[in-house]
């Protein structure tokens, strides 16, 4: 059996735990996970998120999901080898409008993200931490890849309670911020994150960026209006809601906030950013939306 150094070479550090490497004229991304040091749950064996990540990735075969190529060990370290992708979605695309080479490109990227989320949901997988940093792009083929499944987990129908302290704050849904329904959040949580990414693709800045739960909720309600029993049944019964909701606010006109969007685009965005998780569009329905006609 080949050792790590025999199998892969030309290591080039991308970040503290991520390297670019080569094998047979092909590039790969290598993620190093230390199993036995204090940083990783103080010697508690293979971290739970690694067990989930590898297990979930092994179930998936999809053009828009980063492929796990290999898993190797070397002493106390675990090496996860993934296919290599050259561009980060956030750093290269969202912050640089010129990277979107033609108008249809944003629509195509959004379609790919939604299609991937629908694929995952149909396979009992919640992403829970979908954000631009976890999306990579192959610039040559214009194919997006979702990476880093550490926060992902399988779910059951009916859905059990899962930890609510997941996901980057900016892309966290109102029901998670509220810890609505005893943490029984579900597939709509991922759709909300896609809605936030859609907004970010259009504005080239995060749609919501509050530094805390309360401030983030305030930003959300400033744009989308404060929820009521009509728009979100049961919202007033949530413990501590009054303090979180602040003064009532009316929703803004999305057409003015996103003048670059056509009516179909506005309709899709509003359905993905619906405050009530039960009324929010599913990823499966979103990919069939008229906005994607011609993609």
């Amino acid at each position: 059996m080949l050792t790590l150094r025999e199998k892969y070479y030309d290591f080039d550090q991308i970040s503290s735990k991520v390297f670019k490497c080569r094998r047979d004229d092909q590039f790969f991304t290598m993620k190093i996970v230390s199993i036995l040091n204090e940083e990783n749950q103080a010697n508690n064996g293979v971290p739970y998120w690694i067990i989930r990540e590898i297990s979930i990735l092994k179930e998936l075969d999809h053009i828009n999901i980063v492929r796990l190529i290999d898993v190797m060990t070397d002493g106390p370290d675990l090496f996860l080898v993934f296919e290599y992708l050259d561009n980060e979605f956030q750093a290269d695309f969202l912050k640089n409008p010129k990277m979107f080479m033609y108008p249809q490109m944003k629509k195509e990227f959004l379609y790919q993200i939604l299609n991937t989320v629908a694929y995952l949901h149909a396979r009992k997988i919640l992403l829970r931490d979908l954000r631009p940093e976890n999306i990579l792009v192959n610039v040559r083929t214009q194919v997006l890849k979702i990476a880093l499944f550490g926060a992902a987990r399988t779910f059951e129908a009916p859905l059990e309670a899962y930890s609510s302290s997941v996901g980057c704050l900016s892309y966290r849904s109102p029901e998670v911020l509220f810890q609505f329904g005893c943490e029984k959040y579900s597939t709509p949580n991922d759709v909300w994150a896609v809605g936030c990414i859609f907004g970010e693709m259009l504005l080239h800045r995060p749609l919501f960026s509050g530094p805390s739960d309360v401030e983030l909720l305030d930003e959300i309600f400033t744009l989308l209006g404060t929820p009521t029993e009509e728009t979100w049944p049961g919202v007033t019964s949530i413990c501590g809601t009054c303090a979180l909701m602040g003064p009532p606010q009316q929703p803004k006109d999305l057409a003015k906030e996103f003048p670059m969007l056509n009516p179909d685009g506005l309709d899709l965005l509003s359905k993905m950013l619906c405050l009530c998780p039960n009324y929010r569009i599913s990823a499966e329905d979103a990919v069939k939306h008229p906005y994607f006609k011609g993609v």
């Binding site: 059996m1 010697n43 508690n44 064996g45 293979v46 971290p47 739970y48 067990i51 989930r52 590898i54 297990s55 092994k58 179930e59 998936l60 075969d61 999809h62 053009i63 828009n64 492929r67 796990l68 190529i69 290999d70 898993v71 190797m72 060990t73 379609y111 790919q112 299609n115 991937t116 629908a118 694929y119 949901h121 149909a122 396979r123 009992k124 214009q142 399988t154 779910f155 059951e156 129908a157 009916p158 859905l159 059990e160 309670a161 930890s163 609505f180 329904g181 029984k184 579900s186 597939t187 998780p277 039960n278 599913s282 499966e284 329905d285 990919v287 069939k288 994607f292 006609k293 993609v295």
Partner: protein, 461 residues
């Protein structure tokens, strides 16, 4: 971008959802005859030295695809065969050719014709490696078995038939707390029904492989693990996954009896990490064994188990199916019937301890548990109706062997001394369902029960 190429398994615009994957379809595609029988996964027992955590990729290697193993379909169309060829392109071409010859599929022994304009999507498959029935390389058949269906008339006809047969739509929002409702449930369970054939433990590993341990030792271990799961308040999924990991490991690796408990706690550690919000720490699992094993031993075993099982932990268990089937069973009642849920769960958990139940598919055990639970709680009507048959994909006659075996287990005809599950379900929080008097089940199969299949045969889609 060409949407054909955009996503494998994605939903294209204007397409209706694919035909529901039935058990018969899954069996037909995989070449298996009996729902309750399982493929005989014979593995050579060689003491090959393994590199830790090797070979866990989610892509197939071309070097693996060798030979001309041929599996002929015994249930579906007789002229269909799937042959493993040396390249991915050949596999795809062969599959496309074979699939194009299928004009009909069987569901519940009735013929369902495929309309001429139904498009069969060429599956995007990895290279199929080795024999089709090997544990690690089972073919992914969900892509093959769900051809998208554009025939609106056919769908309308199906809906009318469902109404006529009294099949309740258990996924409609009105029936559930909307917060836990998922529009993906049908898709999820279509995938799960196919995947339950994969990664199953051998049902005869005690005879074929193990030399130092016995079924009774396995039973003692699992009975103790039930107590551990209660002690640490672990979710049921953790217990079911633990048992699955133990059996899959024992199907492939020789274990000495003094290491069996180590395997048990290690599998529970792994299952906890996968399923729990907050898993117990390694030290707690060492403590629960009275420190028989050191932390280092548990961690070494963890690496060994994950390596041998290739990190493949996403497996459908009996509990996975129970959720769905209990929901279908509850649809008959105006209010939630918690006794039904507890009793079905109790019966299903009893099978975990019993080695002989490895011969049955998880869905078969789940369906049988629900049938007995319904019958125990209410003998005024037959426990198997069209809704149950529709969602479980089992006719009542197909459940007979498992139901009788499970009824014996409930009656404790062997006088089993392992009582952790019985004691657990005698508690008031489970409505003391373990104290309920079992009802004779033989009568369920003596009378010729008129089922939904009669209507299936008469109705041509």
């Amino acid at each position: 971008m060409d949407r054909e190429n955009a996503v494998m398994g994605g939903v294209r615009e204007g397409e209706e959802r694919g035909v529901r994957v039935t058990r018969a379809m899954a069996r037909a595609a995989l070449g298996w005859v009996s729902a309750s029988s399982r493929p005989s996964f014979k593995k050579e027992c060689k003491n090959n030295s393994r590199t830790a955590l090797a070979d866990v990729s989610n892509i197939s290697r071309k070097s693996q695809a060798r030979g001309g193993y041929k599996k002929t379909n015994t249930k579906g169309s007789s002229n269909v065969s799937i042959q493993v060829l040396s390249t991915q392109e050949d596999v795809r071409a062969e599959l496309a050719k074979d699939l194009s010859t299928i004009s009909m599929v069987q569901t519940h022994d009735a013929i369902v014709e495929r309309p001429e304009d139904t498009e069969l999507v060429q599956p995007s498959m990895s290279v199929m490696a080795g024999p089709l029935l090997s544990m690690q390389n089972s073919m992914k058949s969900d892509e093959i078995l769900s051809p998208p269906n554009k025939d609106i008339d056919m769908i309308t006809e199906k809906l009318k038939l469902s109404e006529r047969l009294g099949i309740v739509d258990i996924d409609s929002v009105e029936l559930k707390d909307p917060q836990v409702w998922s529009s993906y449930a049908p898709d999820i369970y279509n995938n799960i029904f196919v995947r339950e054939f994969e990664r199953r433990p051998l049902s005869d590993y005690m005879d074929k492989l193990q030399q130092d341990i016995t079924p009774s030792m396995r039973g003692i271990l699992i009975d103790w693990l039930v107590e551990v799961s209660e002690e640490y308040k672990l979710v049921p999924d953790t217990l079911y996954l633990t048992v699955n990991l133990i059996d899959r490991f024992l199907s492939q690796s020789l274990v000495q009896k003094q290491r069996l408990q180590l395997l048990g706690v290690t599998c529970m550690l792994i299952a906890s990490k996968y399923e729990e919000i907050c898993a117990p720490r390694v030290e707690e699992f060492c403590f629960i064994t009275d420190n028989t094993y050191t932390k280092a031993e548990v961690l070494k075993m963890e690496s060994g188990v994950l390596n041998l099982l290739h990190f493949q932990l996403s497996v459908p268990t009996t509990k996975t199916f129970l959720r769905r089937f209990i929901l279908a069973a509850q649809s008959s009642y105006k209010v939630s019937y918690v006794e039904l849920e507890f009793l079905a769960n109790y019966l299903a958990e009893l099978t975990l301890v019993e080695y002989s139940f490895l011969q049955f598919l998880p869905s078969l055990i789940a369906a049988s548990a629900v049938l007995i639970a319904r019958w125990t709680l209410n003998q005024s009507e037959h426990p198997w109706n069209s809704t149950m048959e529709h969602y479980t994909n089992y006719k009542v006659s197909e459940l007979k062997t498992t139901v009788l075996a499970l009824a014996d287990l409930q009656l404790d005809t062997k006088g089993c001394s392992l009582n952790a599950i019985r004691e657990k379900y005698k508690q008031q929080k489970f409505k003391s369902v373990a104290n309920l008097s079992p009802k004779p089940v033989q009568s369920l199969f003596e009378a010729q029960v008129k089922t939904v299949n009669d209507a299936y045969v008469k109705t041509k889609y």
